[in-house]
Each structure stands twice: as structure tokens, then as C-alpha cells.
Point group: D2
Chain length 455, copies 4
């Protein structure tokens, strides 16, 4: 058992990720230590600390962790073994602007945190914030492992390495797990073989939320032809029947995934709601009717605000013993990764780190997502080969845009961001004048968060 | 004076390029020798040989060249110092199909020999033909310099190196000269300084017909700000007033070039009619009215047929002394390049060869266009740096498509060509089903020339 | 259980490797099938087949394998799932020449199968033979996995990919296991912790027999400082006391390994007898006294001949029931790798395959040794990073030489081999004239095996 | 005519290079302006300024230049169009140590400013000084062209880019001119054709002072076979008869160059005295007798001191009108390059800049020497291809060492310099203990100049 592990959680007031982590740590018997919660919303962090410590006091808690709050970033980072980054850049007000203003131009973004108009502005807001984090980590916790959960994932991890190239950072995303679940289901429907997600071997490759797989197997079975049949079977209806509606407004029925497979021959690993955002508008997001027919939801930012309010309410109830504090495994791999990095066991899983050649046909240095081997104090990417052709062409366009956003940061010059905006596949079909009008509309709303850029 | 130079001209029946070369050779006093004309249209080659020899007999001819015809490719190539490649893949009937069938889908291609639906089919037709040429050159003239004039230029040169990597081949295109002329004119309008095209130093970079310049100077003057003023001045009207109409149906007024400059800050070197073919349809080719407003022509293939018939008629008239055989310099650089490769003088000019790093942000091995230094028996690319951002993103998409076309050739599998078709920026906005319908329509018409592909 | 696996064993008459494999297969219960033994020494193959089938009939045999002999390479390969390559290029007579003739020039080669004068000539002999194998595999078993055991390992695997780039081949070498054993021992001596070889995590990187490790851990312990103490402790004496002498003439006491570590700060993974062959002569091989003081043996080729004769004798005894046929696990990973490639379990182990970037500071395409992940029908290298500085400089010199040997093969021109010979670190200190004299002496003796080279 | 050019000359007190430049400027009619001399030896700079202004007053001076002295680096650099860097790192006392202390170990260095023990220590001394220059240029003259004349050339230019990656710097070296002169002479002896140096086209490639050529032509003649005959003719005697002795102690007879050509088939471009320093000691520098037989001199540092004293004496005589101030062309290309960068004419010449791919088989980013095209405000390398095999192997070893020296600078850690020292080909044959003893001997003498390094 390894004791005295120090985790610093930036964004420690978060309702979703922070509480998942607390639950998983409570169930963990091999490591123990201290979690320092840092958040600009100090109250939220304090509530989480109280709840975390309440969890540890529960009978079914195996872990021994102490949760504290620290409002000074330097103090929070000093001595950290692990730094978790899980924040919302700006607020839901700005998110409302960069997600929904595009709709009057016919641009629909189901998630709005990764690419397209929303992703570009979210990146612009995030970069100066992440510069601060990276510099603080360099100064106060340079040997810590930094695990990023914030979106836009690729750009967040890119910024950390851009500012502090020696950083030991990676981006963690569970999106790829879903395709393993889907393959397990296909395997069962075709062959009546029950397999767990972890028994499905895959080769994920791409950029976060636009990740693909070109290899899937279970023991000595090739799952690719099995997926082919599955995709054909559910192409028209989606694989979820009406069940996907239960996940309003976060659900989808995988119709997009199957359609892409049947047209272009490669399996998309990310969820439909993410996938469509990377593609030209006429593919799947032309208008609300078309969107409906593809069977996925657009998530209104208003809904996110409600969830947040609800989460806050629940926190207070728990603190005041009006609601039960409970522990349940989150299904996330964060704690597993952490244990692997401490040397307790080996782990191969998907991860977002700079390309060192693991994807042969993407530029070196750009953050990509593939499998990697986790061991004591190291992460070594596993070579994934070349991206499938269709996905490759689209991905190159997004990578070019990421490079333009970094230039905008380096030069503090938004004209590079305007060019990235103009070249984004999801709005490329608009007239240049419309694109610039939309850019300006969003810019006006989020301006207070873009003061870093002087021109 | 260097004697006994042997030039083999594949496509030696051509009216335009072959006669330009004959004229230039007739005016050339430093080299002499033999030109062997090879063509599947043997009659046309024979007529050209007669006309060429008539030219040499003229009083103002300085050159001593003898023109012959050879219908056996092996014999034609044996002993060649230079091989010129200037053919029409298939005939104008197929060109008619691959250029004009797209129009009912709203796709307009002004030239139709490089990219888009036309370029893709022209490439498919060309590749097996060029394989034959490359193998014959490898077998019978492996040390010869091979100068390609055929379009699609990039794909033609790519195929030659693909089949015979040690080939000494390059693609020659005069398109870039026009931007030098335009800069000379801007210099005169702004500064009242007269300069010839060759005095304008530029840094061309890109792929053929989508070449850009990011550097232009005359002596100690930076021409970039001068071009800026020029582009602003003529943005609305084009720089040619109504004069461009005189070049029906090949003219343009440079409006597209100015618009691209003002939007994206880099100077396009190729003519407007070529540029628009590389771009998404909504940029400049949405419909005939829009096209008219941008002031460039769509060249009907019927017109090309007329020119050909006219050229044939004129040839017979010359042969029968009913029309004058005359010599005049073509303005082309073919003979200059040839002399430089023979060691008679150094030359720096734009050329299409595989990328060895001369364009830093394009893949190694892909045929690109930049300046190169010509000397005795060698061509050395000059490093051009990175492509400007906007042009770069579009170019990467076309390069990806070129790679897919090569895969279609390697695997004899048209599904790769279908994917390239589907990803072509000029038709990307169509539904997948429309794209495939258009592909099939063209395919049906040109099928006899695609027997190489077995699937 | 997977049945009907077909293994083709080229060099199936070999005493050591073939019998190890037969033993391991006999102990294997998860797979079964057929092993086809191919050898130019058909008698030896036949004897091995008899012995193999005798093993399978033993009570303690769990496996179900049938061994046959096939003297036609094409028939042997058809339908193979796995091809093992384990041959001696030429015979021990030639080995005698290329190992021992150098001694009169003061050049001592303890093993003589990898680098130096011996390795260069062995490569020259091997290349045309391996060309034949690669072409036959391409023609008759292109989807089979090819496992090479022959030395020079790097050059053998390189040749397979050189001739048939799509081959699924890798080189298997147990040399790296020894450093894991050594680390386990250091761990025990320092910390009194018992660990098995497989529990020691390492990051091997380099070229075969000149492999290094820059990372070693056991659970949460960093083993690098532990190795430091161990190396200091045994620097003068070696770690094996007098025990190493028991392994005459294959033993060593690790003094070279410790000395390299203390001088250059990185851990050599290969055995001392291999390591010294890669280094300039004045390091550890100056003369027999010096060699003695470093405590490793030079293996006389005469000894290898004896072993072979002894092995033959034993084979006949076993066949005639004058000696017992027994089964014991070999400690090799061949069967484990095979099972992993069949999908039965995952495996991470060291392997020799072309560099795709897994070693960041060695050229792409050159065969290197690092960890890789084995799964159903695929091997994916794990990113190993950059080689340590001292090892890197020496390795670059050997890679340059490998490239020269491939050029000698491509051009059938021994002058490239002469240059490689001249540049080999182990003889670089000789005068050019001496080097060429030695080259010629060896050449004269092995000439019948070098007829491929026309100049 | 371009007026008001400002040149800042760092090392402006130098006798040789500064006065060459002053002479060349005095003869130059197309440009004029101001030269600011900066030197830590302010007196020497003042004397040079006086002499420079006296030159300009001479009747045969065409140029209009004013020479001033500035002892503040910032003021000197402000507004500079060109910065010349021409200094002696430390003094001749330190040079004495790093050149001659090696001799008791049997290591002879004819020049002692580039590689070997001398070059390594000179680099260590130079790096912190050049860091200061690069930072000052970044702050005060970031758009100036920086022309470096200081040795070690490769390392000096590397440092400038290492500290300020956007710097417009290049290294200028006339060494390559000699091989053009030699080729012109060979051409005359073989063919009785008179040609000037500039008419000999070559393809130089390598690192400074270890530059090679694999292409030489004059008009339509290939000069490579002509050089072959020339090398054979003069292999035993050298090409200079006894004339080389007149250049004591800087002369050589080209025997080394011819020997390398006959052994390895590529033409060395640098002078023999430089070449031998890059090679293992047993090649040409074993002992004074061997050195004598190869017919080149070792330059004693005492001699350099004398030249300096003589130069100082002459300066005072000129200032006091006791010696004539005269102007004569230096044969250097500095002023030509400067005019080309101002746009007055194009120039192709050899230059030292970071590799962008111009040498295909050397690492990107490392400073290399090839031809480049000079035009208004830009230098574009010309693609030179791959280095010849023998030269390539040796060069890779030196590049590795350069990288180690940069690491020593970055980490302020001399252990990397010790490793570079240990790996230097010229001393590689020594025992590690001898190498470290020699390192320490030199270190003790030059220690005051190595305070930058903390470990």
C-alpha cells in the first residue's frame, strides 16, 4: 500500500468529475493520502471537501483520504504527485453564446466544447488560463503527473506542452469506452459470446472526440466483420431503439457511426454527438429535422445550467444531512491510471499526448489519441499506424486549425483565429462575410475573457 | 556549340506545344541535333516533322535540327538526351464527359484538366499510360532528362517517379510567369519603374496550378506592399478592364486572385481559371452568373475541338504551301531549361519535382512546385519554406486525394478514386449519393480507357 | 483451444532452437497443429521430426503436434500460419574464417555472428539467401507471421523487409532477459525482495545485441539507483565470482557491463561478449590478457563444431532409444509470442522490427529493438524514446554500416562492403591497407558463398 | 546606389577580417553608409576606425563609408542592417592551452579552432559569449542580417539559432573556394582550358571545414573524371611541389585531399589542415614525421601571437603615417553577400545555416554548409542531396558531439562536454582515463572562461 499520495485537483469545485474521483478513491484500498481542492469558486470546493470527508467516514469506504481546500495555486501545487485539471473555461453564459449564436446561421453543435465555432472560442478562452496553469506547474510541481479532463481536450493538452515542454501531462477521456461496449454487444448478438469492455482489444487513433478504430478483436476473433453486420443491421434505425431518448439531452442511437462506417469503411470510436461537429455541415447537421432523423440530441446550454444548479442543491443537502452521501464506482479509469503510474500494476489504455510517431500520418508534436502503456512514472504510446483515409483528411484540417489557434496565442493576434474559424469544416460552406459576422457576434459576447489578445 | 542532341517528343503530333518547341529550336544557335516525334496519331506527327524541317530551311532559322517520326516507342527513346511528354490522355470526347457532365450537378470547371471531377478522371486515364512511358524510359533511356508538359501536371510527374524512382523528370509550367508580369505591371503603376518579367524575383510554392508566392522583389524594393495597393485598386473590376474578353474562352481579369489576397493575405500565382477549381464550390463557381461576375471564362471542350481542327487545317495548308511557315519565340522556357541542363548557362526557375523538403509543410516525396537551380545534368530545388496558411489547408486536401489516386492505381481499385472524388473540395458539398451518381455517369462514358482497373 | 496451426520451420534440422521449440510445444495445451521442418540438411530435419513426434508420445506431453519434413520450400510454406527462420548462413568452415582470421590482426571477436569482420561477412552471405526466403514467403505465405532467430538478427530482419516490405516479420532474441535477471538479483541483494524476471519492468532500446535500458522498475521502486550500487560493488570482480567459468566458452562475469555503466551512465542489456564486438578495439578486446582481465570468453568455432557433432550423436541415440527423449521448458518466449499473435493473451516483450519512431533518434525504417505489444495478428511497438548518448553514437556508426551492406546487396557491389568494413568501430584503428588485406583474406575463404556479388 | 547602410562589426578591433572588409568597402561603389566597430579591445577598434577612415580618404577609394567606435553593445547594435561577428573567444593564452596540451598525448591539431580537444574547449568558451550576442541582437537588432566569421563556425551559428531561433544569421567561410581553384587548375592541366573559380560549378555539402563535393562541372564538362586523373598524378607528391612551404605555417600540398579521394571516392572541399582534425588520429596525424610526410603544417599558437603583435605594430605605423594605408580586394565574398541581401544582384554561394533538408541524410536543424541563393532580404538553401558515405559516417559523429556540447550549455553541465571529448574521433583511441586527464589539464588552464558552467 502506497501512502501519502498528494493529489491537487484544479477545478475541485466541480460537481461531476470531482465527485466521481472522490467515490473511486473511497473504494480504493491500495493507495491513500491527501486531495487538495483548488477552484475559483472556493465555496464549491469547500462543499466538495466536506462531502469527500463524509464519504471517507462511511462504512463501505476502504480508502483513507483527506480532502482540503486551498485557494492559493502555488500552495495547492507544492508537493503534488498528481494534478487533475477539470475546469469550465469562462462560464455557461459564454458557453451559451459560443454554442447557440451559430444557430441563426444554420450551424448546430450538439455538444459545443471541442471544435466548430464553439470549440474555437472555448480554445481562445482556455489558452491564457492554461498558460497560467502550465507555468505554475513548472514552478511548483514540475515532476507531478498532470491529468487533464477539460475540453477542448486536444487543445488543452497541447497548451500544457506548448508552455512547458517537459511537463508530464496527458488527457483522459472515456469516449472510446463506448465503442468497446458496442463491439461487445455486436459480439453477443452475432456469436452469443459474452465479453466485458476490457476484453475487447482495439486500436484507437485520431484526435480526441474524432477517434477511430481500425482493429478490434476478442481472443482469436476478428471483430471487424462482426461490426460490419451489426452496422448494416442497425443502419436505418440506430442500435438503441427508443432507449437513446432516455438520455435526453445527451443521447444518440449510433446512426451516424454506422453511416460513416458503411460509407467510408472505418469505425468511429467517439459518440455521434461529437463526430458530427467535426464534419461539414451538410453531412449530418443541416437542420433540426435532419438532426432528428439521425437520432441524436443537441444539448441546450440551459440544460447544463440546470444540472449545475441541481448539483449545488444536492451538495448542500448532503452537507446538511438532508440527502445521503453514497459511494459508487464511476467506471472512469482515472484512479487506475494513477495506480499504474505509481507502479502498482501495468495498464494499456487510450490517452491524449503529443504525437511521437504513434500515428504515422499526423504531424509529430501534435496531441493525438492512441493506446499507451502506463507503468511506474511513465506513459509510453503504443504505435497505432496510419489513420484511415476519410478520417485522415478531415483530421488534417482540424490539426491545421489547432496550429492556427496556437499561432493566435503566440502572436496574441485573433486574425489567425479568424482564419481557423473560416476554415472549420462545419462552417466552411458559409460566405466569408457571414463567417466574419458570426465570429464578431460571438466575440462581442465573450470579449471580457479574450483580453489576452491585443489585436 | 553542342551538337547531336537527341530529343524524343512523345505527343509529337501536338499542334501547340510541339510547334512552339520547333520555333524555339529554330531560333537557337548554341545547340543542334535531332528531334524524334512519336505519337499514336502518326499522321499528325508526320505533318509536324515536315513543318519542322520547313522551319529549319527558313532564312531566319539559326538552328540546325532534323525532325523525324518514329512509331515504335523503344526506337524513339533509344539514345535520347531529352524526352518531352506532351499528350492528351484519351480524346476530347472523354474530356467532354469529365468536364461537362458535372454541370448538371452545379459543378463548373473552367479548365477541367487538373483537379475536381475532371482532374480525377483524367488522372485515372493517365496513370496506366504513364506507367508504360516510365517503364519504357527506364528500359531505353534511363539517363535522359524527361520534361513533362501534360496535365494533370502534379499527378503525371508523380506517376513517373512512382514507377521509376530514379527517373530524371520534372514538370514544366508557364503559369507562374503571369504573376511576374502582373507584379511588373503593379510596379510600373505604383512607381513608374519598367521591369521585365525576369527581373521580378519571386518565391513560388505549392502544387501546380495552385501555386502561391509569399515573396516578391525588384532590386531593393519589396513588391508585397505594392501588390497590396494594386489588388485593392482592381478588386472590384479586375485588372484587365474588358481586355480579358479578347482571350475568349481562356481569359480572366484576376478578380479571384485579388479577392483571395485581400481575404487570406497571400498571392496566388496561377490563373483564376485554375485557382477556382481547387476551392469549394461556393467560393467562386456557384453558378454561371456568379462566374460571370468574377470575370473568367469556362472553356467549352467543343472549343478545344475546333482549335484542334483548325490546327490540323493549318498544318496541311503549311505543308502544301498555302500558308506561311513562320518562326517566332514562344515565350516558353523549355529550350532554356534544356540548355541549362547541358551546362551552357545556369538558370533558376519554377519546376515540379518531388518534395525533398523544399516546401517544409508538405509531405516528402509528393510532387510540388518551387524554384530550382538548373545546371549541367542536374536540377536542385531551392528551399521555399512553408506554404501560407489558407493555401496550405486546401493543398493538404488535394495531396491526400493524389495519394488516394495512386492507391487506386496500385491496387487497381476504383474505390479509392471514389473516396478521392467524394473528398474533392469542389464537390464536397454534394450528398454522397449525388457524388456517386456523378462518378458513375462519367465512368460510363470513359470506361474503355479505364480497363486497367479491375474492381 | 486453437487447432490446426501450421508452423513452417526453416532450418528445421537445427539442434538447439528447433528442439527448444519442440519441447515448448509439447508442454503447450492451448494450441495444436503441424510443424513442417525444412532444411538443406534433410537428414537432420528428418531426425528432428522423429524426435519431435517421440516427444509428443511422452506421458508428460500436453500438446498435440505432428512433425513432418518437406524439402520443397514452396510446399513447406503453403498454408503456413507461422514461419520460423533459424539457419546458419554457410557452414562452420566459413564461420571459422570470418571469426578467426582477424586474430592475426589483433582483432578478437567473442561471438562472431553480429558485427565486426565476422558480422559483415556473415551478412554478405546471408543476404542472397534471405532474399530467396523473402520472395518465397511473399509468393506462398504472405499473411504468415515470420519469426527470425538467425544472426545477424538486425540485418536478417532488415533484409526480409527490404525484399518484401509488407512482410509480417520480427526478430526474437532472449539476450535482454539476462539484464532483467541481473536486476532481480540486485534488487534482492539491496532490498531482500524476491522478484521474477517478468516482474522487472524495463525499457530496452537499441539494435540487437547492442541493446540498452534507461528505465527499470519493480512495482513502485526505481531500480536504477539499485543497479548503480550493484555495479559499483562488482565493478572490479564481476558479479559471477568464478561461476562464469562454468559456462566455458560462453560465459562472462558482467565486468564490461558494469564498466560501461560507470563510465557512460547507461545500462547495457546485452551480454558482455556481444557488447565488446560493437566497440572500438582498445575498449575491451585489445589482446588475450586484457580480455581475460575483463572476464569473458572468446568462443572458438571449433567448439561450435563439437557441439554440433555432439548434438547429431545425441539425436541418433534418441532415435535408436539409446538416450532418453525428454521435455523441459526452454525459457524462450517463442511459443508465448505465437499464442499472443493467435489472440490467446496479450504480451509486451522486446522485439526487432523496423523503426517507426519507437526510437526517436534512430532513422525511420531501420530495424531496432524495443518493447512491443503482441495481440491477435499484430505487433505494435511501444515508444521507447531516445537512446542514451554514448550508445547512440556507436549505434549510428553501425546503422550506417548496415545501410552500406544493403547497398552492396542492391548494387551487387562489394566496394560498399569494403567501406563498411573499413568503418567498423572494432577495426577502425587499422591502416586502410591492413583492413583491405584482412577483407581479402576472408573473402578468399568464403568466396563460393558470395557469387551473388558480381563486382 | 543604396545609402545609409549600417554595419555593426563585433570584433571590430580584429586585424585580419576587419581590415579585409574595410578594403572591400572602400572599393565598393554601389552601397555606402556607416560601420560601427565594437570590441572589448577598444583601442584596437579605435585604431581600425582611424585606418578605415584613412582608406576612404584615398584617391582610389570609391566607397563612402564612415567608421566609428562604440563600446556599448546595445548602442552599437541599434539600427544595424548587418552585424558581423568576428572574435577570438578568450585569448591566445587559452588557445595555446587547448591546442598544444594535447601534444604530450600524441594528439596534433594543425589549426585548433574547430574540432578535437581544441574545438571542444573553444566551443565551451564561445557559447556563453554568443548567448550574450544573440540576446542583444534579439533585443536591439532583430531584423539585421548576422554574418558570422568566428570559429568554430558550425557551433557559433548553431548557438545563435539556439538562443534566438528567428535570427537571420549565417556563417561565411572561404574554405570551399580553394577546391574550385584546384578544379580550375586540374581543368587547365588536363584540357588546357582556362577558367576562373566562379565558373567552376560545384555542389558543396557537409559541415564547415569538413565540407565535400560530389559534383563539379565547367560548362558541359563533367570535372569529376578530370579530378580523378589529377588526384592520381599528385597523390604521392602533393599538387604544390615545394611551394606550399612558402605559406609556413599555414600551407599544405593537398596530399590528404587526394588520398581521401582515392580511398573513399569523394572530394574533400576543405583544406588538409582542417580535414585531418576531423578524422581518427591514425589517419594522418599520428606523429610529427607522419605529418611531415603528408605535407601540411601544424600552426603554433606562438606564431599567431606574433602575427597579432605585428598587426598591432603596423596599425600604429599606419596611423602615424609611418606605413602606407592601401586598399586591395580581399577575395572574400562578404561584401558580395551583403549587396545580394540588399537586392542589388543574385548570388549563389556556399553558406552555413540550419539544415532544413538541404542535406538529406543529416538531422534537421543542425547547421550545415551547402550552396544557397542570396536575394533581397533572404537566403534560400539549395538542395544538395545526401553526403557521400565515408564523409557521412564521420560527420554524424561530430554532429552528435555538437549536440552534446549544446546540452552542456543548456544544463550548464560539463559532463556532457566530457562525453563529447571522449567520443571525438581524433582522440577516441586513448584510454578513458587519459582522455579525462587531458580534459582536466586543459580545463585547469581555461577555467576562468568557463565559469558559466556550474557543475
Amino acid at each position: 500500500m502506497i501512502k501519502k499520495v498528494k493529489i491537487t485537483y484544479i477545478g475541485g469545485g466541480s460537481r461531476l468529475w470531482a465527485r466521481s474521483l472522490m467515490s473511486d478513491l473511497a473504494l480504493e484500498s491500495e493507495i491513500s493520502g491527501e486531495v487538495v481542492l483548488y477552484d475559483i469558486d472556493v465555496e464549491a470546493a469547500k462543499n466538495n471537501a466536506i462531502i469527500g470527508n463524509m464519504m471517507m467516514a462511511l462504512k463501505d469506504a476502504k480508502g483513507k483520504w483527506h480532502f482540503t481546500v486551498e485557494s492559493n495555486l502555488e500552495f495547492a501545487l507544492k508537493g503534488a504527485d498528481f494534478v487533475f485539471l477539470s475546469i469550465l473555461p469562462a462560464t455557461f453564459e459564454e458557453m451559451d453564446a459560443y454554442v447557440h449564436l451559430s444557430e441563426s446561421y444554420g450551424i448546430y453543435q450538439p455538444v459545443g466544447d471541442t471544435t466548430g465555432p464553439a470549440g474555437i472560442f472555448r480554445s481562445l478562452i482556455m489558452m491564457p488560463i492554461y498558460e497560467k496553469f502550465a507555468l505554475a506547474i513548472k514552478a511548483h510541481a514540475k515532476d507531478a503527473w498532470v491529468i487533464n479532463f477539460t475540453n477542448p481536450m486536444t487543445m488543452c493538452v497541447q497548451m500544457l506542452y506548448h508552455v512547458f515542454p517537459q511537463i508530464k501531462a496527458f488527457g483522459n477521456c472515456h469516449e472510446v469506452f463506448h465503442v468497446q461496449d458496442l463491439l461487445a454487444r455486436a459480439l453477443f448478438e452475432e456469436k452469443k459470446i459474452q465479453a466485458s469492455r476490457k476484453e475487447i482489444s482495439i486500436n484507437p487513433l485520431g484526435i480526441n472526440h474524432f477517434t477511430w478504430i481500425n482493429y478490434a478483436s476478442y481472443q482469436d476473433l476478428d471483430l471487424m466483420p462482426i461490426y460490419q453486420k451489426f452496422a448494416e443491421k442497425y443502419h436505418k434505425t440506430g442500435s438503441e431503439g427508443d432507449a437513446w431518448v432516455d438520455y435526453y439531452p445527451f443521447g444518440s442511437a449510433n446512426r451516424v457511426k454506422f453511416d460513416l462506417y458503411l460509407k467510408y469503411g472505418c469505425i468511429a470510436a467517439a459518440g455521434d454527438r461529437h463526430l458530427v461537429e467535426f464534419l461539414p455541415q451538410h453531412f449530418y447537421t443541416k437542420n433540426p429535422d435532419i438532426i432528428k432523423s439521425w437520432r441524436y440530441f443537441l444539448t441546450p446550454v440551459a440544460h447544463r445550467k440546470n444540472i449545475k444548479a441541481e448539483g449545488n442543491r444536492l451538495a448542500l443537502q448532503m452537507i446538511h444531512h438532508e440527502a445521503d452521501v453514497t459511494i459508487k464506482p464511476s467506471g472512469e479509469e482515472g484512479v487506475l491510471q494513477l495506480k499504474a503510474l505509481l507502479g502498482l500494476h501495468d495498464l494499456v489504455t487510450n490517452v491524449n499526448v503529443p504525437n511521437q510517431g504513434q500515428i504515422a500520418n499526423l504531424p509529430i508534436g501534435h496531441v493525438v489519441e492512441t493506446n499507451a502503456m502506463f507503468r511506474r512514472d511513465e506513459i509510453r504510446p503504443v504505435f497505432a499506424g496510419s489513420m484511415p483515409d476519410f478520417a485522415h483528411q478531415i483530421t488534417l484540417r482540424h490539426i491545421k486549425n489547432h496550429q492556427l489557434l496556437l499561432k493566435a496565442f503566440d502572436e496574441k493576434d485573433l486574425s489567425y483565429a479568424r482564419l481557423a474559424f473560416s476554415l472549420d469544416p462545419s462552417i466552411e460552406h458559409l460566405e466569408e462575410s457571414q463567417k466574419m459576422a458570426l465570429f464578431d457576434e460571438i466575440y462581442t459576447k465573450v470579449k471580457p475573457y479574450l483580453e489576452y489578445y491585443t489585436t
